[in-house]
Symmetry: C3
Subunit: 469 residues, 3 copies
């Protein structure tokens, strides 16, 4: 079932070892503990142990961490024969990306005497960047080798960091939960990559590009974890105090409203009124994406619910009507429908953020304006200008994502990376030892077949006693 | 397999949209950020960002959130053909209930100038109320349409809030972990609803009302998460400091002892000494329920262990001997056995709470008495009176739950809500797109059948080579 | 399928009840709330509620708790027919062990006026000790009765506490994440037990000693949770402030590097370059084990990555080449390969800890030296001596583990404990009610068979319409 080009015996170890050794060397040269993780530095000043940022960020970090590894990993296990790869490649590229992101983000976010200082906040940011790579992974799921994914991650982390630097540091954009930097970027980067990697004969693997009962239940583990911890995601790197608190709460209500509209739209768009697991697994999360920019602002719970409500509707409509069009007309084969979960809701979130920023007033935010819009609070920028900058940031993000995805897509086309042939996409067996395959083996006295990874043996004696024999 | 009455194409969207739009309007009119989530208010006073209640409640909130969505959701996936509905309807009614509960509890817990103020503590309380609805869901699992569940949730959240108001605000009852307000209320409300909805011909769906191997493993995910995070549940809204700390620890030891007695009783009550997954999945959790009221008191680890030990015994005995009697004699079809997990252990917890309250002394609690029994500490009430009030509260809870369940049960009988027919209960296919159904399709050259949601295709060529052909 | 000796109907209840009643009595006599959980004590002093240790340890505790119950429990569900036992026995012996460990550790860690004082830190330590027992469980997985496991847990917790006391209290060893006390101890204790319990005819159960597709996905839930929360594990009981922060971060990078090398080695050691789930599920975690001792030290992220990188390589090599040798030559049947995940990486971690301790200087640690190496900071011990003591501690741990395992192994050989016969190892059905068994039942008109726990019924009508009839 495998040919030599997809054999990973030498390729994967070489790529992993080279990447990791480079990472270790760069960490040795460039990376240092920050003030709150360094034994000498932290004890140099007179503050209480309890003031260490660990206690105010680490629980959020762990929730984000669960979203990255369990949430994204299991969300993609919906495919009947691609569970090992979904969780396993998610695991591999996330482990790589978070190390590489530490370096790239550290480089762009400002060095300290030639050194990158790291602590829990940089860990959260590294996980965020990793999230963006995993969104792109969703677009190409089932059609790429682990080496292609590592190469994609390497470039995407770099471009993510450039875009993030332009938005947060150059333009002074606010995007704590990453509607733009994470979701819009990851989605359109991935969509462009999958466009370039278009496979005209992918329908030869069509029978595997669907779920079975248990694989949908595994996927729901991913969905529910993403849904539950999204409030932590959006609030993980906002300012301390009311900001984190408010962001988490806005996201909570946005998601709840989104779930209601997702269920409604899923039933409404089905001819027999039956709910579709694809919508529930994905669209119900769009409310988290759409609250990514404005979540830290004074969006009000009421406003958050409207945003989530709309996000759910847009997302289900996208899965139902837009995805087939994108595939047929634009040749974009988007396995997980990341355009519907991250792309369009990310754009919605960016627009909501721009509008909410534009109407921000000292009257509403009080002294808290310094936390949310420091440039506006300091009088360096009008709120309306901040709103305009937010809108420009969306355009910048889309531009970098699409151009980046285009270039990286062509790089990934190199045959040396071992992509699976069109006939064996969405199939674990090509890169993983699997207990049994879909092949039917017919022996003299018994038959062995395999369905959904379960090996079934039927032997002769099983049939003989039947009345019809 | 579906008929027109169970078709949700218009009904479900209409109900979801109407409910959500009402919620959004009421939130717009009534709900405001509280002091710790409002940018202006929080910055108005001179306190450190780190004093925001977010840091002292949010980790508990997230644990509770996991219990509501993963814990309850997956605990109910034990049914072989009802996994989508268990997790999916759990998700839907929880998303609705937490919004509605925010309003109802906010209304009863005291408005601020005509507004409901919300923050992390109200989020925990909303999740608690949702938990009560999900307990009732367990009683009617497999026999109700999603619309019935939403209607039930709407009424139950309202009645829950009334009961909670009477207990906590009028009577001054202590019930931090909700042995009464959450577990007893949810269980007996649900049992009464399922009694009213009694289906004499339910045995036509009997073959689906059981587990398969993998569905039991999915259910164990729910069990273990509920078990692990129950200490956070019981301690989530107690007073800060030693109270939260002590409540979590009492619950931890109660659960550990309960697990031991559950395993012992499960083996003891089986004729061949084999452990029964039903007991392990459910009875081992009764120790958390039973520590819900007294957990915050000076119950001592020793006392907690005795309570948990007894709860496990009662719960297994209930599953083994009481549930069949309830079904046959009282016509109460309790799918998940909520009487054994939440009902009887909830009553046990209420009684333990009453006794523990009655013997509380200043000598034992010191100044901490103000946190646990403020009325006793202020001399407004004797400890023995507090104990009596606790006992009265149990009776009030049972009364409201039973009468409420009776009325709501009759409302849910309206045929317009699209309940499944007796022959197709415990079956996802009626409300969900399922890859394959249990029907056997016999084609000219091959057969398709489906077991446990896995579609199996056997074609002619598979049989021909067999020796017996 | 069961014979009388494995029937647990009386044995298991008797053992559970006796153990739990002893625990309850000892708790009643010996255990008290500590300062931070006691209502009177905590309110006796003038400190803020927010200074309660609950807020600085409980989130870590919950992460550790998830590792113990979900992590270890599901990691072992990889076996096709042993999922109930993996999660279920894990649950039982953990619930017992954490209570027993509270007493044993409390006894050795110092009594207060004849009483053991408990709070969140003792809860973490009890979970740690439990982790050690679960590691040993991994070595004997599938070959022991629940009673054997409880007896093993009882002795192992006791010996663990003795060893921990010698290391931490007598020798002044540093081992916050337990490379020695937890992993090395648990692994070699378990390996010695399984050596003594050697089954020459175990290959009669060989067909069950492997995974199926879905069981590997369940196991990945365990793996990913262990991986994500290992930073919390290693940092859970270090000093507050920079120490916890640094330990978590070191572990995070060690694990990321370990994942990269595990994937590389898994592909490299397979003849067809396919990744092996056994390696991914286990070796990718070795980086957490290996950072258990030095994680709290100034290991630097760079150093942590090297340690993790090596741990992944060692672990995969162990699974591939050492495990078969141990089984064939040394008669050590190590079901989960705990030597590769906990044993060798634990030794690596101990050595790294010894070296890192030996080179510690005031210049690097500043005043933080008091937290990490108090004896060195106070001038009572040279850093090089501390390093030597660390190395001696490894030897002590190995000695106690091996001798203890030897003795306990012989105790467990008593036939009264109801071990499964060689032919029915790795099989849930012997101790659990399972919906269906592997037996094929042939009835007059239909056949029932069962694969992977799913009961399949094929009836006559299913075959008749086939063309070949």
């Amino acid at each position: 079932m495998t040919d030599s080009s997809t054999n990973m015996r030498l390729k994967l170890p070489i790529v992993c070892f080279i990447l990791e050794i480079i990472l270790i060397i760069l960490f040795g040269v460039l990376v240092e503990y920050d003030h709150d993780t360094d034994a000498r530095d932290f004890h140099n000043m007179s503050h209480h142990d309890y003031e260490n940022d660990f206690y105010y960020r680490y629980p959020s970090f762990q929730d984000v961490h669960v979203m990255i590894f369990i949430g994204f990993g299991f969300l993609m296990t919906f495919l009947q024969r691609y569970g090992f790869s979904s969780v396993g490649f998610n695991f591999l590229i996330a482990a790589f990306s978070l190390q590489w992101a530490t370096l790239m983000q550290g480089f762009f976010h400002g060095m300290h005497g030639g050194k990158i200082h790291i602590g829990v906040e940089s860990m959260i940011n590294a996980d965020f960047c990793t999230g963006s790579v995993l969104i792109s992974f969703g677009a190409v799921l089932g059609k790429t080798s682990p080496i292609q994914l590592l190469i994609m991650a390497m470039f995407e982390v770099t471009l993510f960091s450039v875009n993030e630097y332009i938005l947060l540091s150059v333009l002074g954009t606010k995007d704590a939960g990453g509607s733009m930097t994470i979701h819009t970027f990851g989605a359109y980067f991935g969509l462009m990559v999958t466009r370039v990697l278009y496979r005209p004969n992918l329908d030869k693997s069509k029978h595997r590009n669907s779920s079975v009962y248990h694989s949908d239940l595994f996927a729901m583990i991913g969905t529910i974890y993403l849904w539950m911890f999204w409030p932590s995601f959006n609030s993980a790197v906002t300012a301390h105090g009311d900001d984190q608190h408010r962001t988490a709460m806005n996201t909570y209500y946005s998601l709840a409203a989104c779930t209601m509209s997702s269920y409604a739209m899923s039933a409404l768009t089905a001819h027999d009124g039956k709910l579709d697991m694809v919508h529930i697994q994905n669209a119900a999360l769009a409310g988290g994406v759409a609250a990514g920019t404005a979540g830290e602002m004074m969006l009000t719970p009421f406003g958050s619910m409207i945003v989530g409500f709309l996000a759910g509707i847009i997302s289900v409509l996208g899965y139902k009507y837009l995805t087939p069009v994108l595939e047929e007309k634009l040749k974009i084969q988007d396995t997980c429908g990341v355009n519907n979960l991250h792309g369009m809701p990310g754009i919605l979130g960016a627009i909501v953020g721009a509008v909410t920023a534009a109407v921000a007033t000292k009257d509403v935010y009080g002294e808290g304006l310094h936390d949310v819009f420091p440039l506006v609070a300091e009088g360096k920028r009008e709120a309306s200008v901040q709103g305009g900058i937010q809108a420009v940031s969306l355009a910048v993000t889309l531009g970098i994502a699409l151009i980046g995805g285009l270039i990286v897509g062509f790089i990934l086309k190199l045959p040396v990376f071992g992509a699976p042939p069109d006939t064996i996409c969405f199939e674990d067996n090509i890169y993983w030892e699997v207990t049994c395959t879909e092949d039917v083996h017919l022996k003299r006295k018994y038959a062995i077949f395999c369905y959904s990874g379960v090996r079934v043996e039927l032997n002769k004696s099983f049939y003989f006693p039947f009345p019809f024999q």
